[in-house]
């Protein structure tokens, strides 16, 4: 059964449509990538799922069979959907440790510190900055923290908006390795928005390509890998 099923999702800003009747689904345990040029509506898609933007009437977002359209964002988060927003939005005046603690609200008490410890192991850069206000971290450190926050929650579906943005190559490969690992180990589901197709494709089971608010291409990685569209968009110079 599909974990997340979206039908006719439409979103518009001030009357200008950003998503036009998008439909797709994600099965449990899958890694799905969403690709698309700037302004395609990728971020909007994630924001609509987590309840941060209003959808048009006919939209349907079924999570575990339950329609979550119109629910408040925190309720959606509590159902097990984690969202790493675009542009590393940390709580600037909270320390690194406190940022992670707030994110562990939904985790059962006895596992919180263990999960936080895991994040520090994954991102040693953060370990030495536990008590630094997150607003003073470097760009990449903030991005690590933002991803780390999603990892400490007990969510089943993790949506990540451009995780590689601003990270050093070593870290990026580390992150993608980790993502692959935890998806397998903990039977998580991952919805990935990532411009770096070279990184995200090997990780993904299926791919959707968005353009101007519509899904223009979809399929398993092998099906779409050689399509002109993908080549042109992501591997043009190689």
């Amino acid at each position: 059964m599909s974990l997340l099923k979206i039908r006719n999702l439409a979103v518009s800003y001030n009357g200008i449509p950003a998503l036009k009747k998008v439909s797709f689904e994600i099965n449990k345990g899958e890694v799905v990538s969403v690709l698309g040029p700037n302004g395609a509506g990728k971020t909007t898609l994630l924001r609509a799922i987590s309840g941060l933007v209003k959808c048009e009437k006919e939209s349907e977002i079924l999570y575990k069979g339950k329609n979550i359209v119109g629910l408040q964002a925190y309720k959606i988060a509590r159902m097990g959907i984690a969202h790493v927003p675009e542009g590393r939005q940390v709580f600037p005046d909270l320390s690194v440790q406190e940022n992670l603690e707030v994110a562990s609200v939904l985790t059962s008490l006895n596992r919180r510190s263990g999960k936080i410890q895991k994040v520090y192991e994954l991102f040693q850069e953060l370990n030495s900055r536990k008590n630094q206000p997150a607003g003073t971290l470097s760009g990449g450190e903030q991005q690590m923290l933002a991803i780390g926050r999603a990892l400490v929650s007990d969510s089943e579906l993790i949506m990540v908006d451009e995780p590689s943005m601003g990270l050093a190559p070593v870290i990026i490969s580390r992150i993608f390795k980790t993502l692959r690992q935890i998806v397998q180990e903990q039977n998580l589901t991952l919805l990935l928005v990532e411009q770096n197709a070279k990184l995200s494709l090997p990780l993904s089971d299926r791919i959707y390509v968005l353009s101007q608010g519509r899904i223009v291409l979809s399929g398993t990685v092998d099906e779409v890998k050689d399509s002109d569209l993908i080549r042109q968009m992501y591997f043009a110079r190689e």
Binding site: Y74, F91, D93, L94, N99, V102, G135, T136, S153
Partner: protein, 297 residues
């Protein structure tokens, strides 16, 4: 001048300063949880004092019931501020300044409402915290009994708020909400609840303060604005609006500065002196005296 007198002056300064700190606690708490300065919060002190006066002295209810009732009503007042003022302003795109003006005017509104119902005359506060002539004397220094209740409550509230904000998940969620409401929601924080909590707790704190301060400030309009408001605000700001401890220390510092400028410089210019010191502190330590860490962009 005898050392005994100087000691007495110091103790009195600490005492009056702790009343500023008590109001400052509410200011810091609200700032930490929604990043707003709420002048209407100052009215909570006056409202709870008048309510307590009505329940206890006029209707004749017991101390405990009167206390709980008045503080409870003031807590609801906090909720009202949220839904009737904060939310509509935010929804219509108003910012902090609009909120400040609205709450300032609410402050004025309450003053006038009290005048209509109770008149402008200050009312004597019932001697629940000792009579006007009850003093504790020690080492040549004396203090009205009520201050010991105040010290106790200041200590408790300060520790409680500090613990809440810094050590509990609820407090951290409150602060997270203040800094980024949207992302806090993504973490599963019930922003709705935390915001209500922030408003209610801050009015409750100031409401409790009101009842305790009434023996000193009388059940009067002065509890609802003017100098105590500005001084409570100063106490909080001196401490950078960061920490409950800071608010209390800031308040006490202010009290001491005031009393010593009276004693050694001039009673006429004491406000000028204490405000100049305040401004100097702010210029040299723009984020408050207890804040050292540098923030960047």
């Amino acid at each position: 001048m005898e050392t005994k007198d100087i000691l007495q002056n110091l103790v009195s300064g600490i005492a009056i300063g702790s009343t500023y700190g008590l109001i400052g606690l509410g200011v810091v708490f609200l700032w930490q949880s929604i990043e707003r300065i709420n002048f209407a919060n100052i009215s909570s002190a006056m409202l709870s004092a008048y309510l307590f006066y009505t329940f206890y002295s006029e209707i004749g209810m017991g101390f405990f019931i009167s206390f709980v009732l008045s503080v409870g009503i003031v807590a609801l007042y906090g909720l009202g501020l949220r839904y009737l003022i904060h939310e509509p302003i935010t929804k219509r795109g108003g910012g902090r300044l609009e909120f400040v003006v609205a709450t300032l005017m609410i402050c004025v509104l309450w003053l006038n409402v009290i005048i209509v119902f109770y008149g402008g005359l200050p009312k004597p506060f019932p001697p629940v915290f000792g009579k006007a002539t009850d003093f504790v004397r020690f080492a040549g220094v004396s203090l009205p009994v009520v201050y010991f209740y105040i010290f106790l409550v200041v200590a408790i509230l300060m520790a409680f708020l500090h613990f809440l904000l810094r050590k509990t998940l609820v407090g951290k969620s409150l602060r997270a909400t203040a800094q980024n409401k949207e992302v806090a929601q993504l973490m599963g924080v019930n922003v709705n609840l935390t915001t209500s909590l922030a408003f209610m707790l801050s009015t409750t704190v100031v409401g409790i303060a009101g009842i305790l301060l009434a023996p000193i400030y009388f059940v009067s309009l002065e509890l609802g604005g003017g100098s105590i408001g500005i001084k409570g605000f100063s106490a909080a700001v001196m401490a950078g609006l960061i920490d409950p401890y800071g608010a209390v220390v800031g308040g006490i510092l202010l009290g001491i500065i005031e009393n010593f400028s009276t004693l050694f410089i001039s009673s006429t210019y004491r406000d000028v002196i204490s405000f100049l010191i305040l401004v100097a502190v702010l210029i040299f330590k723009p984020k408050g005296i207890f804040v050292w860490s540098l923030h960047r962009d």
